[in-house]
Symmetry: C2
Subunit: 546 residues, 2 copies
């Protein structure tokens, strides 16, 4: 098995791959600078000082650190800029049905149907290598439609609602969907959940779909209803729950609906396969996946035996190895370096309970040293029920001392707050020695912390679409990413919960970043992809496995 | 006439004024820190390092520069924090009719009716001294309702629309309102603009109001229709024109409708009086008012003679002196230090035309040295018709060399762009030696420029409500102000175009800033008020007048 001995291939931009882009539109060069008359000595001097100032201002950016770009790389960057400039007018400057105010970097849930039709997306961004996906939640990593298909494909999966669904209740009722043991299966003549005689029991999901009232859309209506409970819809984000606090009500409910489907061994395995396969197809070469150990079991194939969480780790190991073998069999072993887990629990537990979690994490690390990459606490940082990191300082300090092999990779500063508990988490994450920061949305407010992140190379896992859908920013141009980048802080673009945001892969996040700036270009994205490897644990993986 | 010989009185917070706040709610102290058990040595050490890091991170903030706050000041700050914390729950945490998602710092146009009812606004912020108002456009400085009253009060002011207004056209037709010379007055039996026989001629505005179709609301319906053309309405900002580009269509139209009313000597004078009086009542002690010299005349009382713009300066001098005398007569001479003009023209002119403007500005400075405070170029920086500063570099460089007495005070970076022409204006504003920066919304992206602003004390005129209504930010918590403040850059809060935003005075801008942060408090706002004097030309004013 070939493992990357260094980060040069194929995880970053390099001439052979870029050259294919150049042929796309070599008739569309960036406009040459206009042939203005020779400037006066005063103006010439001014222009020189201006150039110098701009260079100084941008000196810390990752795309300025390398000086030796090849001609092909520079050319590819220029071509991409010209496509972006063209589509800013031809795509984003014209009216679109159902999209009231199109512009580059606009709200993703409204923009998606436009984005996928652009050349910039379909010919460039979706095809470029992304490096590592370092911030994604395991139970939000497979497309909603696929999860529904997985559920429909397993006879144990049943659905129930409080009573017969009708047009009105369809708008508000969330389904319960989960595996049930065979002895709880209803009689084969089960009636559907829209049937007036339905009294609220379990119905096989496949049956419920088939029997769904044609007046409510039949099977297609069923799919639409269920999927709207799996994802955040535009009307959720931009209307019903249009604040950073309220949207978490809907966000939380999507996990409540889908989690019981996934935490079932046969589906869990297939789910993970799907996650890895779709990631590879999007140009992702390596994954560090945040996995929750908050619930204490996973359900066995019989849908009643509660298996220890060690089983979950066995599944991760098995599926990862299987996927690597599959890629090798296709002669594509270079396209997938592997997967690691960031162990996480919810920041609602007590400091005492945290100690038990930390113990479990370290036991898992001993048994699965190649799999456990770090430890994190997750949840809605602004939520009243979530504790700030400072509440856990004591056990975390002890753990850091005893387990230098398990770094913290904390969520922190995923907030609009200024001086709120969620914002203050950034101080603690850094003081506790976090290796990277999940989100760090409010980091831009902290000059000293930015300096530390720059000097210690603490990378920020920036999740553009997540931040926007979860209402921390209203569009990509409003996002603080350029502030962070221009301070010379390493950034890895991440998808967070792509299943809920309908933003599978990293291409959509890369796209939104690319169109929202005139400074950022293909060279920037390429360097970000490279950096995602540098700040990951993939090299540690190499040393473990080789 | 008493003039402030220094900035200590009454422009900043000082104990006697603050003490009155303390009595407001001294039963509501901030919660005392919980009596947790003595921390372990490890935790104690951690807490100490944490305190140090937080202090380092905030060291550059203006509210940390002074160390000698009095007990009364500290107490006042604490009281204000407790009121804010209480109302975050009691006001912003409950449902309000017609306001779907209330929260502190939410979009101003929806929040205003809630804001005015808070104790924080009515008892604290509206009563505190604000220092100088340093960024306000002269023709956007008087409340819309007052402008309508001024128009209704002058017989020369007439109105016209293309044809009879009805319920449908009311939604889209903008009125033309302006003074007309007496020989153009219609016959006294003028018919109203909603009359089916109306053919599109001038109607005295008072008459048009009286005759407004009762089916369309009569005079109240007339007022509603006219005022909706004077201001940006919630439906404009959050629906019809909900992007930073589109909102300027509406914004521009409000000026087009109101400018002809104001550029008329008798109304101009009264308009300026109203501006100064209402500013003083809001705690503003000094004004630097951006005044456009783009149009080449002001209309005389006869509504046909086009007077030179020198007349405008005479009006400013006359009204300012009159207002100062009025304040002195009330024994309140300390409450108004005066008014100066920042000469501005539109950044749509050619570099050649700019030279003529600069010449005129310097001539005015010679004749009115006490009145002209600086020079600026204004307009929609992102707009296709607006030129970037670099296009004007040559004449501006020459002017700066020849006229060190007329500083540039440029609008720059009023944009979401990253590397766009509007964003790049920041480099030029600074290189050209701007004394302050109007907006500087995109400054946070520029580490080197922030360093220069900090070191050279180039203040940023931050206009919170303007930025939000004009869609650069969706709410105050999303605003980059804390980033700028924490970098140690001087900030003056400003209202920009309060007439169009329905945000008269500085109280609303101060309020939005105060509720959107847990770090910022009364001491911060007080220091900002002081700083607004330091970075103004009021001291130069003193030396000129005394």
């Amino acid at each position: 098995m070939r493992i990357y001995a260094n980060e040069s291939l194929p995880l970053g931009p390099h001439p052979p791959q870029w050259e294919s882009f150049i042929t796309l539109s070599n008739s569309r060069n960036a406009p040459s600078s206009s042939s203005s008359p020779v400037p006066s000595p005063m103006l010439a001097d001014y222009l020189q000082r201006r150039e110098k100032l701009i260079a100084e201002d941008r000196a810390l950016r990752i795309d300025r650190v390398r000086a030796n770009y090849s001609t092909a790389e520079l050319k590819a960057d220029e071509v991409v800029r010209s496509i972006r400039a063209r589509e800013a007018v031809s795509v984003w400057g014209v009216n679109h049905e159902n999209v009231p105010h199109p512009y580059p970097g606009m709200e993703f849930l409204n923009a998606k149907e436009i984005i996928v039709k652009t050349d910039l997306f379909s010919k460039i961004v979706s095809k470029m290598p992304k490096g590592g996906l370092l911030h994604v939640h395991q139970n939000a990593s497979v497309e909603a439609k696929t999860v529904l298909d997985l559920a429909l494909g397993h006879p144990a999966i049943h659905i129930r609602v409080p009573g017969p669904l009708d047009a009105a209740s369809l708008e508000t009722v969330l389904p319960k969907i989960q595996p049930v043991p065979v002895e709880q299966y209803p009689a084969t003549d089960a009636i559907g959940i829209t049937d007036l005689l339905y009294t609220g029991g379990w119905v096989p999901i496949k049956k419920a779909r088939e029997l769904f009232d044609p007046a409510l859309g039949g099977p297609a209506g069923f799919d639409k209803w269920v999927l709207s409970a799996f994802v955040i819809n535009p009307s959720d984000a931009f209307k019903t729950y249009n604040t950073p606090m309220k949207i978490w009500l809907k966000f939380g409910s999507t996990f409540a609906v889908t989690d019981p489907i996934i935490r079932f061994v046969p589906i869990q395995k297939e789910y993970l396969r799907m996650c890895i396969r779709s990631s590879i197809e999007d140009g992702i070469s390596y994954i560090e996946i945040r996995t929750s150990f908050f619930k204490k079991y996973i359900l066995a194939e019989d849908a009643k035996t509660k298996l220890e969480l060690r089983e979950l780790l066995l599944i991760f190991r098995e599926v990862t190895n299987e996927m690597k073998a599959e890629m090798k069999a296709k002669g594509r072993e270079d396209d997938f370096a592997g997967l690691k887990i960031i162990y996480n629990t919810l920041r609602i537990i007590s400091p005492k309970e945290l100690e038990a979690e930390l113990d479990q994490c370290s036991r898992f690390k001993q048994e699965f040293p190649d799999l456990i990459a770090g430890f994190d606490l997750v949840g809605h940082e602004d939520g009243a029920e979530c504790k700030p990191l400072i509440d856990y300082a004591e056990p975390l300090l002890r753990f850091a001392e005893q387990h230098p092999d398990i770094p913290f990779i904390f969520h922190a500063g995923e907030t609009l707050g200024d001086g709120t508990a969620a914002d203050m988490n950034l101080y603690d994450a850094i003081l506790l020695g976090t290796k990277r920061i999940g989100h760090g949305f409010s980091l831009a407010k902290h000059p000293k912390l930015m300096q530390i992140c720059r000097e210690k190379k603490i990378a920020i896992e920036v999740c553009p679409i997540s931040n926007e859908v979860l209402r921390l920013t209203s569009s990509m141009p409003m996002h603080p990413l350029p502030i962070i980048m221009n301070q010379g802080i390493p950034v890895v673009l991440s998808s967070d919960d792509p299943a809920m945001f309908n933003s599978m892969g990293l291409s959509f996040d890369f796209f939104q970043v690319l169109v929202a700036s005139e400074v950022t270009g293909l060279l920037t994205l390429g360097q970000m992809a490279r950096d995602s490897i540098t700040v990951s644990h993939v090299l540690a993986l190499v040393s473990c496995i080789v």
